[in-house]
C-alpha cells in the first residue's frame, strides 16, 4: 500500500479493527465493510451505538449504508474529487489540527520554486517527460535537497520498479535521486507560499462542494453535511477513522485516492491516535502477509527491493547504497538484506561472495500478474504455478487471461476444488465459443488437492498486521497437502539434481538452505521450524535473535523477514498466544512491528510527551521512568526523550528528533507532500477513469498520464462519452460469497444464499431500458458481454454528472462456469490496465451498455462484440443510428 507507505512510512493499516470503537466519526469509502468484513464491522456498530457518526460514501446503497448515519452516493471513479473536497473543507473551514500538523507533518517544509502544479499545467506536475511518458520528480523535492548526481544512467522511474517497494516510503529508489533529509527549510507559520501547506491548499482550491456536485453527483449540501460530520472528529478530544478496501485501490489512480485520505487524516491529526487512523480492509486471510513475505515480483521479505537489472545491482554495496537512507529507520537496510541472504543461503553466504547477493535474480521488466500474463499470451512463458487463486474468474479480461493459459507448456493448479483456472481447457467460455478446442491445447495440467486451514499449522497475517497461528486439527484427506509440503518436496527433488553441478546457475539452488525437519506419515515439514527461520537466529550457535534491532550486516545474523523478527522472541510462538490483555489485546497473537497495535502512536502524545487529552491517551512519556509508556507498545525509541534533538551528523534513528513520530521516514514526519516515491505526482490529482462517460471537469488532462491501459485489440477501451457504453459499471463482492467463488460457490450453504449473477440497476434505468425486476439483462463492454438477472432497486440512484444524467450498474463478480451456483464471469468485462505505482487493474469504474434479454450463445457473443466494435457513430445503418441515440426506441 504505497499510498500509506509513502505518507506514513509503512504499507500497512495504521490501526486495529477494535480501535474503531474509540472513534467519534468513521468514514467508510471504497469499501462495503458490513458486507465484506461483517465481523470486523461489529466495532463500527459499537462506535455507532456509542454515538459516533458512521458515514458511508458509495455508488450503491448497500448493507453498509443501511447501518450508516449518513450515506451519499458518488460516481464510481470520482473519489479524489470527493476526498480532495474534504481536504479543502478542512483547510478552508479551520478544521486543521495545527498543533499536530506543524510538528508531526511536512506541512511547514518549503518546496522548490521551479515546482509547477496541475493548476499551472492543466493536469500535469512539472517534470513530465512526454517522450518517456513518466515524471522526473526533481522539481518535487524539498527546497535545498541535494541535486541529482550526474551519471545516473537509470532514469528516475524504472519501468521495472513495482510499487510494493514504495510501501517502505521515503527510501532511495530513484536511482541516485537525493531524498528529503533533515535539515529542511521550514515555515512553522505555514504562511510561506511555497510551504507544503500552502501548495496543497492551492492544489485543492478548485475541489469545492460545487465541483464535488459536478464531478461526483453528490448534491453540494449533502457533501457539506458529510464534510462537517467527519472534519469535526479532530483535535485533542476527538478522532475519526477511515476504512477503505479495493473500492479505492482498483482504479487507475488507486494509490492517489488513498494518499488523499492520508493527507486528510494528517491535517485532522487523526494518525497514530486512538479511534483514528486508516484501516485498509484486506480481502484474503493473509493478503497482508503475502506482501510482508511477498509472493510478488518486485520485493523481498520485509519490503526490501528485488535487485533490478541495472548497474546499482552490480554489487551488494551499490544496491544497499541505493536503498539505504542516511536518516530514519531505513538506515538499517544493509542489516536486513544481509540477514535475509544468510537465512536463504546459510553457510554459502559469506562476506567474500557478498552473501550470495549475486545469486538473486534481477528484475528486468514488468513481472507483475498482468505484465507477465501478456507475455504468456504471446507464448513467452512455459510453465505456471497457480496456488490458491483463480484468475480465470478473478482476474480482469478473463477471456484474454484464459486464452493465455492455452499458450503454456505446463500448468500446476493447487486448490481445494477444481477451479475454473484448472478446467479452462474443456469448460471455459472460450471452449463454448469455439475459440479454444481441447484437442488443440498442448498445455499439460496438474490439478493438485490442497490442505485446508484446519488441516495444517501456520500463521495468517490479518488486516491489522496481526499474525495468528492456526493449529492443525486433522490430517488432510486423500492426497491433499499443505503448500509447505509442496514447496519443500519440490525443492528437495530439484536440489537433488544440482548436488554435483558446477554451473553458475545451479549455485543458488545448491546453496539454498532446505534442511527442514519433517513429521508424520506425509513427511510434512515442521512449520515452527520455518517460523523460527523467519524470526531470525545467529548462525554461529543457532540461538534465536531477540528481534530486528539485533540484526547485523556482517553475516552474524540470519532472518527470513526482518519486520516479522520478534514473532518467536524468547523462543515463544507469539502468534499462537491466546491470552489477550489490556485495551489493545496484547498477548493475543503478535502484530508486526514489535507487537505495536497502533502505528505511529507517538502521535497520540503532544510534542512534549503528554497525552493530547485524557479521553484520547494511548502512549506517553514517563519522565520518572525515563521511557515511553501507555496502552500500546510505543512506535518509537522507547527511551528517546520528547525533547531529544539529534546532532547534525546523526544517522539513522538517532537523526530523528524526540517529537518526530514517523520514524520510517528520513525526516521523521508524516508526508502530506510525497516528494519522491510515487510515479503520478506528489499530491493526488483527479483524473477520470480510463473509461468514463464524461470529460475531466477539472483539467484538460483526461486520465492518469502515468497509468498503462495496455490497450490492444483484445483489451480495447471505449472512448470518453462513447454512446455505445453510456453507463458507469462497478464491480463488488457480496457477504455470501468469497472472491472468485472457489471457496463459496461450491458450498451448498453459501451457494443457495446468492445463487445467480445479478446486476443492480435503478428503477429509472430499468424503466428506460424496459427491464423488470428479475429479468435477464445483458451487459457489454468493449471486452466482453455477460448476462445477469436484473435486481431493480431504488438503492441505485442515477446521478447528475456535469449536467447529464449518469446511470450506474452494480455487478458482483463471484460467479463462473463451475460450482453449485453458476453464472457469467463479471471480470471478463474489465480491462487489463496498470495503475502506475502498483500495477492494479481498474475494476471499480468502467463503462458498459445494458439491454434486456440474454446474451447470444456460443460464438454469437463474439460476432455481437465485433458488430458493436465496428459501429462508428456516423455510420448510417439503423442499428448504428439507434446506438448513436438518434432513433427513438421501439415502443
Amino acid at each position: 500500500m504505497p499510498g500509506l507507505g509513502t505518507s506514513f512510512g509503512r504499507g500497512g493499516a495504521t490501526t486495529a479493527q477494535q480501535d474503531l470503537a474509540n472513534s467519534d466519526a468513521i468514514l467508510i469509502m471504497g469499501s462495503s465493510m458490513a458486507e465484506n468484513h461483517p465481523v470486523g464491522f461489529q466495532w463500527v456498530m459499537a462506535a455507532r451505538e456509542r454515538g459516533a457518526t458512521v458515514i458511508h460514501v458509495d455508488p450503491r446503497f448497500n448493507r453498509t449504508s443501511a447501518m450508516a448515519d449518513l450515506w451519499v452516493p458518488l460516481r464510481a471513479g470520482s473519489d479524489i474529487v470527493f476526498l480532495g473536497g474534504l481536504v479543502r473543507y478542512a483547510i478552508e473551514h479551520g478544521k486543521v489540527f495545527r498543533d499536530y500538523v506543524v510538528p508531526y507533518t511536512n506541512a511547514a517544509v518549503l518546496l522548490k520554486d521551479e515546482l509547477r502544479d496541475p493548476e499551472d499545467l492543466d493536469g500535469l506536475f512539472s517534470g513530465w517527460d512526454a517522450s518517456e511518458l513518466k515524471y522526473d520528480p526533481e522539481s518535487w523535492l524539498y527546497r535545498g535537497a541535494a541535486k541529482k548526481s550526474a551519471g545516473g544512467d537509470v532514469a528516475g522511474h524504472e519501468a521495472e520498479q513495482g510499487g510494493h517497494a514504495k510501501e517502505r516510503g521515503g527510501h532511495r529508489d530513484e536511482g541516485d535521486q537525493a531524498q528529503p533529509e533533515q535539515p529542511q527549510e521550514r515555515d512553522d507559520t505555514l504562511g510561506h507560499p511555497r510551504c507544503v501547506y500552502q501548495v496543497t491548499r492551492r492544489h485543492f482550491a478548485r475541489y469545492t462542494s460545487e465541483m464535488v456536485e459536478r464531478a461526483c453527483g453528490v448534491p453540494a449540501a449533502q457533501f457539506v453535511r458529510v464534510a462537517e460530520a467527519f472534519c469535526s472528529a479532530s483535535g485533542p478530544e476527538r478522532t475519526g477513522a477511515i476504512c477503505y478496501a479495493v473500492g479505492w485501490t482498483q482504479h487507475s489512480v488507486g494509490v492517489q485516492i488513498i494518499r488523499t485520505a492520508a493527507i486528510l487524516q494528517l491535517l485532522l491529526g487523526n494518525v497514530g491516535r486512538p479511534g483514528g487512523g486508516i484501516l485498509a480492509l484486506r480481502g484474503h486471510a493473509s493478503i497482508q502477509g503475502s506482501t510482508d513475505i511477498p509472493t510478488l515480483f518486485d520485493i523481498l521479505p520485509g519490503y526490501l527491493s528485488m535487485p533490478l537489472f541495472e548497474k546499482e545491482s552490480d554489487s551488494l554495496a551499490s544496491y544497499v547504497r541505493k536503498y539505504q537512507t542516511e536518516t530514519g529507520w531505513w538506515h538499517n537496510y544493509d542489516k536486513y538484506i544481509v540477514s535475509l541472504l544468510k537465512a536463504w543461503y546459510g553457510e554459502e553466504a559469506t562476506a567474500e561472495n557478498e552473501f550470495g547477493f549475486g545469486w538473486l535474480p534481477r528484475v528486468d521488466g514488468d513481472h507483475s500478474h498482468q505484465g507477465y500474463w501478456l507475455d504468456m499470451a504471446a507464448g513467452k512463458l512455459e510453465g505456471l504455478f497457480v496456488i490458491g487463486q483463480n484468475p480465470a474468474v478473478g482476474a480482469p479480461n478473463g477471456r484474454l487471461e484464459r486464452k493465455a493459459l492455452a499458450q503454456l507448456k505446463w500448468l500446476v493448479v493447487r486448490d481445494l476444488v477444481e477451479v475454473e483456472t484448472a478446467s479452462f481447457w474443456y469448460d471455459s467460455p472460450e471452449v463454448e465459443r469455439g475459440e479454444l478446442r481441447p484437442d488443440e491445447i498442448a498445455t499439460e495440467v496438474f490439478l493438485m488437492p490442497a490442505a485446508g486451514h484446519a488441516e495444517k499449522d501456520g500463521t495468517f497475517t490479518n488486516t491489522q498486521r496481526l499474525l495468528q497461528w492456526h493449529e492443525k486439527a486433522v490430517d488432510p484427506p486423500g492426497d491433499c497437502r499443505s503448500e509447505t509440503w509442496f514447496a519443500y518436496h519440490l525443492g528437495r527433488r530439484l536440489q537433488e539434481r544440482v548436488r554435483a553441478s558446477k554451473r553458475r546457475r545451479d549455485q543458488p539452488l545448491q546453496a539454498m538452505t532446505w534442511d527442514y525437519p519433517v513429521e508424520g506419515a506425509d513427511r510434512e515439514p515442521v512449520v515452527e521450524a520455518v517460523a523460527r527461520e523467519i524470526h531470525g537466529r545467529k548462525p554461529s550457535d543457532g540461538e534465536l535473535v531477540s528481534g530486528f534491532t539485533e540484526l547485523a550486516a556482517d553475516g552474524s545474523t540470519a532472518c527470513g523477514c526482518w519486520i516479522y523478527s520478534g514473532l518467536y522472541a524468547g523462543g515463544i510462538n507469539r502468534p499462537r498466544q491466546r491470552a489477550a490483555r489490556g485495551a489493545y489485546a496484547h498477548g493475543w497473537g503478535w502484530a508486526w512491528p514489535s507487537d505495536r497495535r497502533i502505528l505511529y502512536n507517538r502521535c497520540s502524545a503532544r510534542p512534549d510527551g503528554a497525552p493530547w487529552s485524557e479521553r484520547k491517551k494511548l502512549v506517553w512519556w514517563d519522565d520518572a521512568a525515563g521511557e515511553w509508556t501507555g496502552l500500546d507498545v510505543v512506535d518509537f525509541a522507547k527511551t528517546k526523550r520528547p525533547d531529544y534533538k539529534p546532532k547534525p551528523d546523526a544517522k539513522g534513528d538517532d537523526a530523528i528528533a524526540g517529537d518526530q513520530p514517523f520514524i520510517m521516514h528520513p525526516d521523521g514526519l508524516g508526508w502530506i507532500w510525497v516528494a519522491s516515491g510515487l510515479k503520478d505526482g506528489p499530491l493526488p490529482t483527479h483524473y477520470e477513469p480510463l473509461e468514463s462517460p464524461v470529460s475531466n471537469p477539472l483539467y484538460g488532462l483526461q486520465t492518469n498520464p502515468a497509468a498503462q491501459p495496455k490497450e490492444r485489440p483484445d483489451n480495447a477501451y471505449a472512448p470518453t462519452g462513447d454512446p455505445r457504453y453510456p453507463h458507469v459499471l462497478t464491480t463488488y463482492r457480496l457477504t455470501e460469497h468469497h472472491t472468485a467463488g472457489g471457496m463459496s460457490r461450491t458450498l451448498p450453504h453459501l451457494a443457495e444464499l446468492q445463487p445467480e449473477l445479478f446486476a443492480e440497476i435503478s428503477p429509472e434505468l430499468a424503466a428506460e431500458a424496459g427491464i423488470a425486476n428479475g429479468d435477464w439483462v445483458t451487459i457489454a463492454t468493449p471486452r466482453a458481454m455477460v448476462e445477469a438477472r436484473a435486481l431493480v432497486t431504488a438503492r441505485m440512484k442515477p446521478l447528475v454528472i456535469d449536467g447529464r444524467l449518469v446511470h450506474q450498474v452494480g455487478l458482483p463478480y463471484h460467479w463462473g462456469p463451475r460450482g453449485i451456483a453458476r453464472g457469467d464471469v463479471a471480470n471478463d468485462l474489465v480491462a487489463i490496465s496498470e495503475e502506475p505505482n502498483v500495477r492494479i487493474m481498474e475494476a471499480k469504474a468502467l463503462v458498459c451498455s445494458l439491454a434486456p434479454g440474454r446474451r447470444p450463445r456460443g460464438a454469437g457473443v463474439l460476432r455481437q462484440l465485433e458488430e458493436i466494435a465496428a459501429m462508428r457513430p456516423r455510420d448510417e445503418t439503423p442499428l448504428a443510428r439507434q446506438i448513436a441515440g438518434e432513433d427513438s426506441p421501439p415502443a
Partner: protein, 185 residues
C-alpha cells in the same frame, strides 16, 4: 417387547399424568440428548476467508472434523462469524472437495487420476526442463541469473510460512522473478 411397552409414553402419562407434550412424551434419545461435539478435542484456528482474522474453534474426533465455531476469546471476533466463516466446516468436508491429483496430458480431452508422488516427480521434471531452457545468467555482461520461463500466481490465501518457502524456492533457488498474488496494493 416388554421394554417396548415399558417405554410406552401412554403408560407414563397414566402413571405420572401429563398431556403428552412434556417429558412423558420424550424418547430415550431425547432424554439422553448431547451435542455432537461433547468431549471432543478442540483446535484453535483462524478463519480462512477474509482478513478480519476471526478466531475459530475446530472440534474434531478420530481425525474427523465435527464442527467449526467462533472462538469467544478472540479480541477481534469475540466468538462471532460471518456466513462464510460459519460455513468453513462445510468448506473442508463438502462433497465437491478435491482429494486426488488430476492430470491432463497435452491435447487430452479428459482428466486422469495419477498418484501424488508421480505428479511431484513430473512437476519437478517440467520445472527443470523449463528452467534449463529459459535460464539466463548474464546479459550484456551484467548479472541477470533469471529463470524467464516460469511464473507463479497466488499467496493471499496461504500461510506466511507457505509463502516464505515458495518465495525462497522460486526466487532464491530457481531464479524466478515472475511472482504475483492477489495483493495488488
Amino acid at each position: 417387547m416388554w421394554d417396548l411397552i415399558r417405554e410406552w409414553p401412554l403408560l407414563r402419562q397414566l402413571r405420572d399424568g401429563g398431556d403428552g407434550t412434556g417429558p412423558e412424551a420424550m424418547s430415550a434419545r431425547t432424554r439422553e440428548l448431547q451435542t455432537k461435539t461433547a468431549g471432543a478435542p478442540v483446535a484453535r484456528s483462524v478463519c480462512p476467508y477474509c482478513a478480519v482474522g476471526c478466531g475459530q474453534l475446530v472440534h474434531h474426533r478420530d481425525g474427523k472434523l465435527l464442527a467449526i465455531e467462533g472462538d469467544p476469546e478472540s479480541p477481534i471476533s469475540r466468538g462471532r462469524l460471518c456466513p462464510k466463516g460459519a460455513a468453513s466446516h462445510q468448506l473442508l468436508t463438502h462433497a465437491g472437495r478435491l482429494t486426488k491429483v488430476k492430470y491432463r496430458a497435452p491435447f487430452a480431452t479428459r482428466w486422469q487420476e495419477i498418484p501424488l508422488e508421480e505428479a511431484m516427480d513430473r512437476i519437478a521434471d517440467r520445472v527443470w526442463e523449463s528452467r534449463e531452457r529459459t535460464f539466463e545468467e548474464e546479459r550484456d555482461g551484467r548479472v541477470l541469473m533469471q529463470c524467464k520461463g516460469i511464473a507463479h500466481l497466488g499467496g493471499a490465501t496461504l500461510d506466511n510460512e507457505e509463502n516464505y518457502l515458495l518465495k525462497k524456492l522460486f526466487t532464491a533457488g530457481l531464479g524466478m522473478t515472475r511472482l504475483s498474488n492477489q495483493a495488488r496494493i
